[in-house]
């Protein structure tokens, strides 16, 4: 929410988060190297590095992809989501080490350019069993790199939320490429069925989790009638003090907050990184995003000065003890008289 940019807005929680991340990586690497040196002492150090960093980035990628849906199911996971961007950049760096060592090890020794060699050393592009899986890894790394370098808020603001989001949704393309890369790599180099099974299970786990959350959210969305001028929210008693109810209004989600006997409706999407405002609460009179704490005034959808973020606001009405929200949003940051209910 800074007015002028900082490289990283450090705070206690982020520092603790990053320390935890570094510790996890260290323990992982030590354990991986230890196990390899004891049980596979014939393997070269380069191979261990390639495997260790490959597996590490794969694990981190899975964590990254599960946080989003998990926070929807249980808010306790918000702690992991809080600094997902550092997790993403770290994951990319681990994948980069894996890629760089693989390239040096497998393509750096010939007399052809190593990057060219990734594409040309194995030409069995028509074969499933012998497909040059490193090409898939190359493209996955390219996408992950693009995401890593555009993760700062500067990019979010200057590319615009929609473009930035679209760019970062490419993580699913990268994930598909990574899974194919790993599965084919495993088929071609390993005899162990265990690793193969673990990867497929992880893949189906991620897919199921996303599906589950998507189904849950579309059913809530369908409960309200789309395209009507006024959409039913429900009885005010359904909303807890300082909390919100989320309803879908003409394809958008709207959060209706209750505070001090009044109701206000704002667009549910936080302007920072699209966090669900309606899952946050009102703190010090401001709607506070559950993801990183951006704040908005319920009465006008504006971040308190000096911040400049704004969300759309909506009209509300009370009829026969039921609250209705108008489907037509007001422009971002428009003041709307709160609906008094008591």
């Amino acid at each position: 929410m800074s007015v002028s940019y900082r490289s990283i807005l450090w705070n206690k929680q982020k520092i603790r988060y990053d320390k935890g991340l570094v510790l996890f990586i260290l323990i992982f690497l030590v354990a991986f190297f230890g196990i390899h040196l004891v049980f596979h002492s014939n393997v070269t150090i380069e191979t261990i590095i390639i495997r260790a960093f490959g597996l590490l980035s794969l694990v981190l990628l899975h964590v990254i992809l599960t946080i989003g849906p998990l926070t929807r199911i249980n808010p306790r996971f918000l702690i992991v989501l809080y600094n997902r961007r550092h997790l993403g950049v770290t994951m990319f760096l681990m994948a980069l080490i894996h890629g760089a060592f693989s390239m040096m090890n497998f393509h750096g020794l010939g007399d052809i350019n190593p990057i060219r060699s990734i594409f040309l050393s194995n030409l069995q592009y028509q074969s499933v069993a012998h497909f040059p899986f490193q090409v898939l890894g190359f493209f996955a790394l390219l996408i992950l790199g693009l995401m890593a370098v555009t993760s700062h808020d500067f990019w979010l603001k200057n590319l615009g939320y929609k473009t930035w989001k679209a760019l970062h949704m490419m993580v699913y393309i990268a994930y598909g490429l990574v899974i194919l890369h790993v599965v084919m790599g495993v088929i071609q180099n390993e005899t162990s069925i265990v690793l193969f099974a673990v990867i497929l299970t992880a893949f189906f786990g991620i897919a199921m989790l996303h599906l589950l959350v998507a189904v849950r959210e579309t059913t809530t969305d369908q409960q309200s009638k789309l395209n009507a001028e006024w959409v039913l929210v429900g009885a005010p008693e359904e909303i807890k003090e300082s909390r919100a109810k989320i309803v879908a209004v003409s394809g958008e989600r709207v959060a209706i907050f209750l505070y001090q006997g009044m109701l206000s409706a704002v667009n549910n999407v936080c302007r920072h990184q699209g966090g669900p405002l309606g899952e946050g609460k009102i703190i010090d009179g401001c709607i506070t995003c559950p993801w990183h704490g951006y704040q908005y005034l319920p009465g006008n959808g504006q971040s308190p000065p000096p911040f400049t973020e704004k969300v759309e606001t909506y009209d509300l009405k009370l009829e026969n003890g039921q609250v209705w929200v108008n489907a037509q949003p007001h422009p971002e940051g428009t003041a709307v008289e709160p609906l008094k209910i008591s």
Binding site: Y5, S7, V149, F154, K157
Partner: protein
């Protein structure tokens, strides 16, 4: 697969990528020191390492940034 075709595809792809990144690098030098300030006033008082952080992105996304800067004129 036909070797000649794969070689041609690979070389065209890598050459285009190389040219794109080269132009991006040239643009990024301008962008990091001057263009970013024009696009977003929040950059003006940012520390030097912030410019380092946005540098790789400006190499990769130079076409988008250039379009945005030209539109701003």
């Amino acid at each position: 697969m036909d070797r000649a075709l794969v070689v041609w595809l690979t070389d065209s792809f890598l050459l285009s990528l190389g040219i794109y990144l080269l132009l991006g690098t040239a643009f990024s030098i301008y962008f990091v020191f001057a263009g970013a300030n024009r696009l977003d006033p929040g950059v003006k008082d940012a520390p030097w390492h912030f410019r380092l952080i946005i540098w790789p992105g400006s190499v990769l996304l130079w076409v988008t940034l250039l379009t945005k800067l030209l539109k701003k004129k």
